[in-house]
């Protein structure tokens, strides 16, 4: 295979640099030759060359669905990218617990919830509940974690109260419903509340959900964000390592490490 030029990367179909992209979309117009031409022209305007409408379907009424191929003429310089990532060394269940036991010497308390009007607990349950997800135990099963899953539709106020009540080290917020950006306002509100209570800096604040990125989380004032595909150990390793880092930052010369 010819050498990929990382300064100029474009989509790969079956030949390097062919730029082939497949698109699927609907236009609110009646099915017919004009609709196909409209889709073709639109794809050209998106910056594709050689747009080819391979399939068009009448969705009834005045909607038509298209599958279109095009050649992308743009490229990306991969060598110049800087992507914020959660800085964490991947560890398994045993290593994480050992780390907490050896370096912290006490259990880490975590409170977690689906906040606001969000009722979708699949994500938070996968991370917290005993059962876990994809063959991994959830945080409830970690002997060196004390995990409280408050469940669905928890008001931010309740979550903060619980964090204070349990003297939590970390707060996990899950947001699945993102229609009309309802999650942004809700996540921001939690940060405001924590600041008002004067405990923002005492906790590790983590957000998660299918539409959550680390970058977005940082932007909203969180310490980390976890997107789709996250496993319980990813979150646990991050919290454990961050706790150890924090401990050493705040008490640099107490000689806790023996």
């Amino acid at each position: 295979m010819p050498q990929v030029d990382l300064k100029s990367v474009r989509p790969y179909g079956d030949t390097l640099d062919d730029g082939k992209v497949q698109l699927g979309f609907t236009l609110p117009i009646r099915y017919g030759p004009e609709a196909k031409e409209a889709a073709r022209q639109l794809v050209m305007k998106m910056g594709f060359e050689g747009a080819d409408v391979v399939s068009a379907h009448d969705l009834g009424g005045h909607f038509t669905y298209f599958v279109v191929y095009g050649k992308c003429v743009h490229s990306v310089d991969v060598t110049s990218l800087r992507v914020p990532k959660v800085e964490v060394e991947q560890m398994d269940f045993f290593k994480i617990n050992d780390l907490v036991r050896d370096k912290l010497g006490r259990k880490i308390t975590v409170v977690a919830a689906c906040t606001g009007s969000d009722a979708h607990t699949v994500g938070i349950d996968a991370i917290i509940n005993m059962k876990g997800y994809a063959g991994e135990y959830g945080l409830e099963r970690y002997p060196w974690f004390r995990a409280h899953n408050l469940g669905a539709q928890v008001p931010n106020e309740t979550l903060v109260a619980k964090a204070i009540d349990t003297d939590a080290d970390a707060i996990l917020v899950s947001q699945v419903v993102t229609q009309r950006n309802v999650h942004i306002a809700n996540m921001t509100r939690l940060v405001d509340l924590l600041e008002a209570e004067g405990i923002r800096d005492d906790v590790i604040l983590v957000a998660g959900g299918p539409r959550i990125s680390h970058e977005l989380a940082l932007e909203l004032g969180y310490d980390a964000g976890f997107g789709p595909g996250t496993l319980p150990s990813h979150v646990a390793a991050y919290i454990a390592q961050e706790m150890v880092r924090k401990e050493h930052r705040t008490s640099p010369d107490l000689g806790k490490e023996r």
Partner: protein
């Protein structure tokens, strides 16, 4: 029966479920709730909101409940007010709302009211019940004149937040082949202790269930029904803190199906169980009378608990939902028991276990319009893999004779469905259903094979679980986290403050009339035994 199951084990399960339901009914018959009383007002024609936007049924019921007089039933107070003022129930409600009338002032009247006072409401009661009967007749007429659809019926969801957009999308889906349209509710509506009013164009993750929205969507679907020559059914959510009110609205606006589970709100919305058990009973009586098919929510267990390990909890819940539904007068043909295709797709022979569970439900509940829910838990955002999983789900559905197939969306876990997601899902289902239409008829399951063995094992586990629940009582057993790993206590959760013990003079004219029209056994009521 295709799985060659031990009939005596199935009988045993039903016996247990009946005992469990009877225990629940002991409680149900002793109490009323704020939403049950608001339902009575709605059925008496009370509608609209006050100056602050609070629905009049809430204003009136709260005024009586705050004074601690809900025990006699709101109809008792309404009948007195109508008898003494000559106004209609709606006019009485308006006067209460603007402070010109206080229903509780009549509370000092001697307990019990005469038949002549009660009779002032009889025309309003029959008008409402007759309107519902007329809707039943209209539905029957549509179903005889138009194509009623072939099972598994194709069920899709719209959820734009704007009822007018919803109508557009629903009509498009119907033209692509959908038989059933559900309008997803705005997130958290289940926790509102009132029903929003009027047409709405903003919602989060769904559209508010209001009576006006029901009417708008019904009109939209009737028009596309006539256009396509197929009767398109409408679904909404009869769950949360306003179960019976939504049931009444659905009955009045000719909805065809209602999501309605006896335990869903308790488990997944942390609604108090004393409240929900009472609410679900009256809501189901209304659904029964209105010819509305309920859809139960067992699929939800499997989004939090493991679908392979906890399969028996689904079957146990189906037995309990069936037993409670019978006590509300629902015939088998209106009990759409739910289950789901949620086993980890990486599991070897996972498809066989899915078939075992689906066939088990079909064999045990032969006359129930089973509602089959698609994979959601293991949908990753990889739309092509998702499309394949949905194809497997559709194959399981058609070969085991499911009745209502809620189509999976290839974009599950990404966003609420786009218009072409629904189209692609419908195409997937229609292809599989047509291509494998009679596969189930040709299949015999090997005795001792993976599928048959699995089905027997789930049935055995279910029998054990139901016996345990019977011994402990459902309310106590729910404290042990037996369903979905979620534990609830009898006095925990939302809405307990809206539960009131009935007095000896309690009166609910609709409960009485529907019970008699449905010929429900009076023995349901322990006070009359």
């Amino acid at each position: 029966m295709k799985l060659d199951l031990d009939i005596s084990k199935i009988h045993k399960c039903r016996e247990c479920a009946n005992d469990i339901a009877d225990q629940v009914m002991e409680h149900v018959q002793r109490v009323t709730t704020t939403t049950i009383e608001r339902t009575v007002l709605r059925l008496l024609g009370v509608d609209g909101v006050n100056h602050a936007g609070v629905p009049l049924p809430n204003v009136v019921v709260d005024s009586v409940h705050r004074a601690g007089h809900l025990e006699d039933g709101i109809a008792t107070y309404m009948a007195r007010a109508v008898a003494s003022t000559g106004l209609s129930p709606q006019q009485v409600a308006e006067k209460v709302a603007c402070g010109e009338l206080d229903l509780t002032l009549t509370a000092s009247a001697p307990a019990g009211i005469g038949g002549c006072e009660r009779s002032v409401l009889s025309s309003a009661v029959s008008a409402s019940l007759d309107r519902i009967l007329a809707n039943v007749a209209t539905r029957r007429e549509y179903l005889s004149r138009l194509d009623p659809g072939t099972e598994p019926l194709i069920y899709v969801i719209v959820a734009t937040g704007n009822i007018y957009e919803d109508v557009e999308q629903a009509q498009s889906a119907a033209k692509a082949g959908a038989d059933i349209i559900a309008v997803i509710r705005s997130t958290a509506q289940s926790l509102l202790d009132y029903v929003p009013y009027g047409a709405t164009t903003e919602g989060f993750g769904g559209t508010f269930a209001t009576q006006e929205n029901f009417r708008i969507m019904r009109r939209g679907l009737d028009s596309v029904s006539v256009e396509t020559g197929r009767y398109i059914r409408l679904v909404n959510y009869c769950s949360g803190l306003c179960m019976p009110e939504i049931a009444a609205m659905g009955a009045l606006e000719r909805l065809d199906m209602m999501l309605n589970d006896s335990m869903y709100g308790i488990l997944f919305r942390d609604i108090n169980m004393k409240r929900t058990f009472a609410d679900q009973h009256f809501s189901r009586m209304i659904n029964a009378y209105a010819g509305i098919t309920i859809n139960t929510g067992e699929d939800n267990y499997l989004t939090t608990a493991d679908a392979y390990d906890e399969a028996h909890t689904v079957l146990a819940s189906q037995f309990i939902n069936e037993a409670l539904a019978h006590r509300s007068g629902l015939p088998d043909s209106q009990i759409g028991l739910g289950h789901a295709f949620e086993i980890n797709p990486e599991l070897k022979d996972g498809f066989l276990y899915e078939v075992a569970q689906a066939q088990l439900a079909r064999d045990i509940f032969p006359d129930a319009p089973l509602k089959y829910m698609p994979p959601t838990k293991y949908m990753t955002g990889d739309i092509f893999r998702g499309y394949l999983l949905n194809g497997m789900f559709n194959l399981a559905g058609v070969m085991t004779g499911q009745s209502i197939q809620l189509l999976g969306m290839l974009t599950e876990a990404i966003h609420t469905p786009h218009i072409h997601d629904r189209y692609l899902a419908t195409k997937n289902a229609k292809h599989v259903f047509n291509n494998a239409r009679h596969l189930g008829d040709d299949i015999l399951y090997t005795r001792g094979g993976i599928i048959q063995t699995r089905a027997e094992q789930v049935l055995d586990d279910t029998a054990r679980m139901l016996q345990h629940v019977r011994d402990r009582g459902l309310m106590n057993a729910m404290g042990e986290g037996i369903f979905a790993g979620i534990a609830r206590t009898p006095d925990g959760g939302r809405g307990l403050d809206g539960v009131a013990a009935k007095s000896a003079d309690y009166w609910n004219p609709f409960e009485e009339a529907i019970a008699s029209r449905l010929a429900l056994a009076a023995s349901n009521d322990p006070r009359r035994r």
